[in-house]
C-alpha cells in the first residue's frame, strides 16, 4: 500500500449509497429535507485492511529455540590387564611389620621442612612403546618408591633409588641390558621387575637362565625378593624336564645354560613361549655361533632381558652378539663400533658404584709383591729357562697353547714350590689372616686352580676355612655359604674364580685375597665384587699377590694397562679392544725368537 492510499479515504461503492438513500422506512416517517447530495468518487478497487497482521506468539519467528539446553559428552576408555588374584593379598595395616623385616619402634622425627621433596620414580614409556594403551598403562602406574617401602610388597630392605630407576628402566622395555657394575644388585632389580610385571598381569610365564653354579643363588634371591612368586627349576631327567617345558604352568622357571643347551629341541618347540626371558651373566652368549647362543635365541619370547656386569669381555662384537638375542635386527650388519651406541644406548643401563653410591665404603687395592722363597726361585728360574729353550726349538710350529703351558707352569711355581711346598704367598696370607680373624672379620681367597685351594685349606686350618669350588657338589654349596655367613669361627672361604666369581653375595666379608691373578681383569673384578657390593658397610681391602720379578708381574702390568680401557667400552669404543691378552702379548711375555707362521690358515 502506497503512502497516498493511506491519506485519501477509500472509495465507497455506489450501490451501497443508493441503498441507503432509497430506504422506504425513512421516507414514511418524515419528509426528507432537501439536502445536496454530493456524488462521492467511486471506489475503483476493493477495500483492503490497513491493520498490521498480528500473529500468535507461538508462531515463528517470535519464539526462537535456544537449542539443546542439556549438555552431553562422549567417552572412550581402556581396560588394563587385571592382576592375578593370587598377587593381591589384602593390604596390611601400616603398623604391621613386613615379612622378613625386623620392626623397631623408633620415635618419628618431623620431616625437615627444608628438605627437597622426594622424587617419585615410575616407569615411563619408551620410544618403542607404540600403542597408546601401552603408554597409558605405564603412565598410570603408581610410583615404585611407594611399592617397596616395606608395606605393599615384602622385601628384605627398601631398594636404593638407583635400583628403583633400574626397575623403571627394565619394566617398560622388551629389549634391555642391565649392565650395572658388579655389586649394585642387578639380581634384585631383575627379580623385582619381573615380580611387578607378574602383579600387573603383564606377563604370565617367564624364564630365567643362569650359569649352573648360580642356580642356588638365584633360588635364594627369589625367595628373598619375590616370596609370593612361585618358581620351578628344571630338575631331573629328560622326561621330567620335558614336563617342565611343556606342561608346567609355574609362572617362573629357572634353568642353567648347560641344561638349556641339552634341551635345545624343547626350547625351540613352537609350543614353548615365555612372556619374558632373562639371561644372567649374559656374556655367556657372546659367541654368536655357540650352541648356547643359538639355543637362547631360538626360544619364543616377548621380552628379552640380559644382565651382565661385563657384557663386553673382549671386544664390541660381544655386545653385537648380545643384541642378536635382545633385539635381532636392531644393529645393522657391519656397524662400526663407534656407531654402536646409536642403536644400543636406549636399551642399556649401566651404573657404577662411583655414580650411584657415594656413601658406599671404599675399596682399597693392595698389590702385595712377594719375593719367592729360595726353593721357589730356583725352581722358577730353571723352569723358565728350560721352557723358553723348548719354545724356541718349536720354531714355526709354536702356538699360543705352547706359551700358555709354560705360563701356567711358572704361575704354579709362584704359588708353591713343586718339591718342598714352600710358598712366599702363603706365609704372607697366614700373617694377614691372623689379623683378619683377630678383628672378627671374614675373608675370601681366590685362586685359578683347585689344588692350591686344598693346600691352603690345610694351612689355614686355625681360621676355619671353607671351600667353594668346582669339586664341591652343587647341593652342598648353598649350605657352605650359609655357614660361612653365620658361623663366627669360619673366617675364610677359599674359592676358585670359575665357581665363586659370579653372582654370589658375600658383602659380609671385608677382605679379598687374589692368591694368583686371572687373565682377564673383568673376571677379577667380578671376584672382588662378591664382597664389595650393595649392603657392604665397611671398607673392603683387596690384596693382589704378585711374585716379584716373575711372569706374574709381567702379566699384571699388561692387565693394568688394559683395565682402564674396559671401563669406557660400553659408552664409546673407537676401535675394537681386546681385554685379555692377545696373541702378540702372550708371545711378548718371554724373550722368544720363535713365532708362529702367519696366514698359514
Amino acid at each position: 500500500m502506497s503512502r497516498d492510499d493511506e491519506l485519501d479515504p477509500p472509495p465507497v461503492p455506489v450501490e451501497l449509497l443508493n441503498a441507503l438513500i432509497d430506504q422506504p422506512a425513512a421516507a414514511d416517517r418524515a419528509p426528507a429535507p432537501v439536502v445536496d447530495v454530493l456524488p462521492l468518487p467511486r471506489f475503483d478497487r476493493p477495500l483492503e485492511t490497513g491493520v498490521r497482521e498480528a500473529r500468535l506468539l507461538t508462531d515463528s519467528p517470535w519464539v526462537r529455540s535456544a537449542g539443546q539446553l542439556t549438555l552431553t559428552v562422549t567417552t572412550e576408555g581402556w581396560k588394563f590387564p587385571a592382576p592375578p588374584p593370587e598377587y593381591t593379598p589384602p593390604p596390611r595395616m601400616a603398623s604391621e611389620p613386613a615379612i622378613g623385616k625386623h620392626a623397631v619402634d623408633l620415635p618419628t622425627l618431623p620431616d625437615d621442612p627444608n628438605a627437597a621433596a622426594k622424587a617419585r620414580i615410575r616407569p615411563k614409556p619408551t620410544a618403542d612403546t607404540v600403542l597408546f594403551k601401552d603408554r597409558l598403562l605405564l603412565l598410570l602406574q603408581p610410583p615404585l618408591d611407594g611399592l617397596f617401602d616395606g608395606r605393599q610388597l615384602a622385601v628384605p630392605f627398601e631398594p636404593f633409588p638407583y635400583q628403583l630407576e633400574g626397575i623403571a628402566f627394565l619394566m617398560p622395555r622388551h629389549a634391555a641390558l642391565l649392565a650395572d657394575e658388579m655389586g649394585l644388585g642387578k639380581t634384585a632389580q631383575a627379580i623385582l621387575s619381573l615380580r611387578l610385571l607378574f602383579h600387573q598381569g603383564q606377563i604370565r610365564q617367564a624364564l630365567l637362565i643362569c650359569p649352573k653354579p648360580l642356580m642356588h643363588n638365584w633360588a635364594r634371591e627369589l625367595k628373598l625378593w619375590a616370596p609370593d612368586l612361585p618358581y620351578e627349576p628344571f630338575d631331573g631327567d629328560a622326561e621330567q624336564r620335558r614336563t617342565t617345558w611343556l606342561v608346567s604352568n609355574c609362572p617362573l622357571k629357572l634353568i642353567n645354560y648347560e641344561t638349556l643347551t641339552r634341551d635345545a629341541d624343547l626350547a625351540a618347540d613352537p609350543r614353548v613361549y615365555f612372556d619374558a626371558v632373562v639371561l644372567d651373566e649374559a656374556q655367556r652368549i657372546k659367541n654368536k655361533e655357540s650352541k648356547t647362543a643359538q639355543t637362547v635365541r631360538s626360544i619364543r619370547r616377548g621380552r628379552s632381558w640380559a644382565i651382565s656386569g661385563t657384557p663386553v669381555e673382549n671386544s664390541p662384537d660381544d655386545l653385537v652378539n648380545l643384541f642378536a638375542f635382545l633385539d635381532p635386527g636392531r644393529i645393522p650388519p657391519d656397524t662400526p663400533p663407534k656407531h654402536l651406541p646409536r642403536y644400543t644406548s636406549d636399551c642399556i643401563l649401566r651404573r657404577t658404584k662411583d655414580l650411584v653410591q657415594s656413601d658406599m665404603p671404599p675399596k682399597t687395592y693392595r698389590d702385595l709383591e712377594v719375593d719367592l722363597t729360595p726353593a721357589q726361585r730356583q725352581a722358577y728360574s730353571l723352569a723358565e729357562e728350560e721352557g723358553v729353550i723348548h719354545l724356541n726349538e718349536l720354531g714355526e710350529t709354536i702356538s699360543v697353547q705352547h706359551v700358555f703351558q709354560l705360563v701356567m707352569r711358572l704361575k704354579q711355581i709362584c704359588n708353591f714350590d713343586p718339591l718342598t711346598g714352600e710358598s712366599a704367598k702363603l706365609e704372607q696370607l697366614v700373617t694377614d689372616m691372623e689379623e683378619v680373624a683377630a678383628s672378627g672379620r671374614k675373608a675370601i681367597v681366590f685362586s685359578q686352580w683347585v689344588e692350591p685351594l686344598e693346600v691352603l685349606a690345610k694351612a689355614l686350618e686355625p681360621f676355619g676355612p671353607l671351600q667353594y669350588h668346582g669339586r664341591i657338589p652343587q647341593a652342598e654349596r648353598t649350605p657352605i655359604l650359609d655357614q660361612f655367613k653365620a658361623d663366627p669361627t669360619k673366617h675364610v672361604i677359599l674359592m676358585s674364580y670359575g665357581t665363586g666369581s659370579v653372582g654370589l653375595n658375600l658383602q659380609f666379608t671385608n677382605y679379598v685375597f687374589l692368591f694368583d691373578r686371572w687373565w682377564n681383569p673383568a673376571i677379577e673384578d667380578q671376584a672382588i665384587n662378591r664382597a664389595h657390593r650393595v649392603g657392604q658397610r665397611h671398607p673392603v681391602t683387596v690384596t693382589r699377590f704378585i711374585a716379584g720379578d716373575t711372569i706374574e708381574q709381567r702379566i699384571a702390568l699388561i692387565l693394568d694397562q688394559k683395565r682402564q680401557v674396559f671401563h669406557d667400552l660400553l659408552a664409546q669404543a673407537d676401535k675394537p679392544a681386546t681385554l685379555g691378552l692377545n696373541e702378540d702379548e702372550i708371545f711378548g711375555l718371554f724373550d722368544l725368537k720363535a713365532r708362529p707362521r702367519r696366514g698359514a690358515a
Binding site: 549438555l71 576408555g77 581402556w78 588394563f80 614409556p125 597409558l136 598410570l140 602406574q141 603408581p142 617401602d149
Partner: protein
Amino acid sequence: MSDRTASPPTLGFLSVQQEPAGWAGYYLVTNAWGRPLEFRLSSAVQPNRVQTALYGPTLLDYLHADVIGKALVEKTGLKPDLIVTDSPTVLALRSRVEVPVVALRPDAAVLPPETRTLTHPRASVALLLPAAFAADESALVAKLDAVDPAVDLAEPFTRIREAVAETRKLGVSGRVA
C-alpha cells in the same frame, strides 16, 4: 553376589579439567594398591552463552557432576567402592550415584559450602564430604582403612595429569570428541 565390603576396595579417581575446547573429564579406576585397572576420558564440552545464563551458578555442578562425572562412572566397566575427585564441584555426583564421593580439599581458604572436612591417613590432604551425605562418613572411613597404607589418595591425580598430557600429545582427546 560377592561381599564388596569384605574385599579390598576398588577406587575411582575423577578429575575434571578445563581445556581449550571446554571441560573434559578423566577417570582412573585402581585396585586397593593403587594399580590401574581402567581409564576413561570424556570429550570436552563447552557451554554456550544461553546455557551459561540459564544454569547460572549451578552450571559447573551440573557440568562436572551430571554431564561428565556421571557419564564417565556409568560407562566404565568397573564399579568403584569410593570415588575421589580433585574438584569440589564433582561432589554433586554423590546424589547421582550410590557410591561415596569425596574431594581433596583445595588450597583455597574458603571452603565450598555444604561440605564437611575429614582427615584420614590415606590422604595427604584433608577430604571434603558432601554435608547432605554425612552418613557416608563411617562407611567411607571403613573403606579407606582397607586401602593399602602406601596409597595416598592425592597421588593418582599426578598420574592422571601425565596421562592427560599424553592424550593431548597424541591427539586422543580430539578423537573422543
